[in-house]
Symmetry: C2
């Protein structure tokens, strides 16, 4: 502790009440204990802290904005680990407008990076609900997804280079701003998504994109999830890469929204109002708002004519677009008001999604009659937030007591439909013990060999992703 | 050998003259010796061969279409290794049109995969000069690039899942068709680009895309390479992701083409004909050919008005497009006719390219007066083919004797400009001993630890990428 205080200054080694906010994850789901919270202010200080921990065999739990959903940033209860907070590493190191790249430190809040890019006339294309407080280091550690993956990819796809402090306290400078670089193993991709178990990402060089000239949104009423999948194919062909969002929402999910927020309503009458599913599409146009709307009219007109869609509303202003997105964004708020539910973050091949939802809904109803299936998500990426809410009259506690069984049922069904039990939130503590059931022995053994090779002492975020 | 023959059948273990074509790379640059060439016909047979080699400690050199440019598929001269040819693993296992994915075996020729996708109404977006004979396994082993990287990315970016046989002869089934999957370390990305040194890729699941409705091409005369970089930014903003190609060619490169193929000419008079640089742009449109041309007229009209371009020709038919691409495609043919040159496959940040070319041209002229700098490439990806051709009166042998020195000069300059000495061809044998000069000790040590963890016997493609 004295060594740490000497290294960082006494103000940047937190204990007692000061450490408290770092010990509990933001959903209040995981609470741990720690020796202290170290808050280094430079990469050299990060390396110094890690080298000291390596010397003493002290486990390290890296933490960014503490907005993770799987407990990867929270230590266990032993109190033997040091939390290493990256929040003070928050410099925008460089924006290279000509190369369309930005180099930032891990502790930068996502929104600050978006803002810096926009100020330079560029788009930083990672966007997700926690962007006001999550850090890009955490986004990289979990390979975060969000709402623009369909067009721009996950955090991984946006990253060109990394800077990493190894578990031995060495610094790897891999901050390359290159679109093509085939000079050895892709260490970058190994660290991305490794949730702090192989080293500490301290900075990254990201791709930037031109800002779209216009964005337009449409809401489409659909007879079935199969029709939504067919519409996705039609939209991909018709809009090409201009298609930047394709969200789906089941009717009972929107029903929840209207229960909690009675001032909201569907912009449809007749068939569209009673549709089983709705899709929200976003197109980003490099030409004009008028062009985006004309494309919507052409592509969605064809979908209506082909019986692919029941009804369509196209936003003709930013305000109308925002109103349509507001429906989608109200889902988690309505869910929260109606009580805790059992949440799944899963992905499936588009071709299997309708079967998965039908089969899994049926399995759940057979086993737990009356529970509500709250299904919505990023259909364009095959990513569903498949949540299970209380049956009428069921208590929150009674539902949550079923969580392990429901997880098992849903994840077994995901696996049977060739999907993944973690689409965009990672593994952390939450799904660590589920991995062996779905990964197979060879894949797990390969992961363990890599872990042992890069972190032979096992001090980096032990007990996350892999059993320690 | 008897064990192998028992495993594969005697027809599929080649020796003597039958093995000869596998011992020499297609450019005639590397020649090795081998115990035999094993040609397994299934993944189980691949696993069986590898397990047998692991038991006996026999090194394995995996080989696809034998079209590599850095010698990664050719054994050393010791004759102790087994060549493992993947060519018989050439099944298209599945096309999932609804999921926009294709699953193919490693030995499939790239063009066969393109054709299978097209027959299903989809685009497989990897395209490069050797596509008629290279295999997708080799494309993955080297993370191949090509002409559509600007829009669709490298082989890595097109890959969702892999099947791999480990150096222990185990089979990892990672053939997932998922756009989002954050459930553990990205083994996929570790194998991609590892050039057969960590295991053998036996199959892959790739992304497919909608076929573009129309493609259009334009040739632009430019006053300087700086103007080309400025035009790239303008084109990225103006066309958005519809921009699928952005190639540049220096005037003396086109001069070579016109010397060798006098029937070809530039479609410009006046200033455009004498321009220092030309850019070839391709736009893929999801709407119509007329829309693509109208966009060209708008965006390039603005570039002309702003003084960014000297002259512009827009193709108004597929035939005109092909004629413009023919200029670009004639460059390597003209080069070959004019004698061997010293070739570099490098990448740089767009913001450094003009400086790099000016500085490196000057260094070369100072050291080797009269040599010709043959500079062209995929500017949209920062990837230059920076070649050095004979000075007037210089013999081919005299030039090639300078190759080690010229490599050093050019690669040092690439490194000084924050670039990579291998953009899309890989490392293999050719650049293996250069890596330590440019990578730094930490990165090399990390690579070696991963190699030792996954291939502790060191039997997978020894002496490639890393020194063995």
């Amino acid at each position: 502790m004295t060594a740490l205080q000497g290294l960082l200054g006494p103000d940047h080694v937190l204990t007692g009440d000061d450490a408290e906010p770092y010990l509990l994850d933001w959903r209040g789901r995981y609470r741990g204990e720690a020796l202290a919270v170290a808050c280094p202010g430079s990469v050299d200080e990060v390396a110094g802290v890690v080298a000291e921990c390596a010397r003493l065999g002290v486990p390290i739990v890296p933490q960014g904005g503490n907005t993770g959903l799987c407990g990867a940033g929270t230590p266990d209860g032993s109190g033997t680990a040091l939390i290493l907070s990256l929040r003070r590493l928050n410099a925008i190191r460089e924006i290279d407008v000509e190369n369309d790249t930005i180099t930032v430190e891990a502790g930068c809040v996502l929104q600050a990076v978006q803002d810096a890019a926009r100020a330079a006339g560029r788009l930083f294309a990672l966007s997700l609900a926690a962007e006001g407080s999550c850090t890009v280091g955490g986004n990289l550690a979990t390979n975060a997804g969000g709402t623009q993956v369909l067009r721009y990819g996950n955090a991984r796809d946006l990253t060109l280079g990394l800077e990493v402090v190894t578990p031995q306290g060495e610094r790897w400078d891999g901050l390359r701003g290159l679109r093509k670089d085939n000079s050895g193993y892709s260490l970058r991709d190994l660290y991305i998504g490794s949730e702090g178990t192989l080293g500490i990402i301290t900075a990254a060089t990201f791709k930037l994109f031109p800002l779209p000239v216009a964005q337009s949104t449409a809401l489409i009423a659909l007879p079935s999830l199969e029709a939504a999948v067919a519409l996705l194919a039609r939209a991909r062909a018709g809009f090409g890469p201009a298609l930047t969002g394709f969200e789906v929402m089941a009717a009972d999910v929107l029903g929840q929204v209207f229960t909690v927020f009675p001032e909201q309503r569907l912009p449809f009458a007749g068939e569209g109002a009673g549709a089983a599913w709705h899709a929200l599409l976003e197109v980003s146009d490099s030409e004009s708002a008028a062009h985006a709307q004309a494309r919507f009219e052409s592509v969605l007109g064809n979908a209506l004519a082909a019986g692919n869609a029941l009804d369509v509303v196209i936003a003709h202003s930013d305000a109308q677009s925002q109103a349509l997105w507001h429906l989608r964004e109200s889902i988690p708020l309505a869910e929260a008001r109606l009580g805790k539910s059992i949440k799944h973050d899963v992905s499936l091949p588009a071709s299997r999604i309708a079967d998965f939802v039908r089969d899994t809904n049926a399995l759940l109803q057979a086993r737990y009659p009356g529970v509500r299936n709250v299904v919505f998500g990023h259909l364009g990426d095959g990513n569903l937030h498949y949540n299970v809410a209380r049956a009428p009259g069921q208590s929150e506690a009674a539902l949550l007591a079923l969580q392990p069984e429901v997880y098992r049922l849903v994840h077994d069904s995901v696996h049977a439909h060739a999907g993944s039990i973690s689409a965009e939130h990672g593994v952390g503590q939450l799904k660590r013990d589920e991995l062996p059931r779905y990964k197979g022995a060879v894949e797990l053994a390969l992961m363990k060999r890599i872990k042992a090779a890069l972190d032979p002492q096992g001090i980096m975020n032990p007990g996350k992703v892999l059993q320690s």
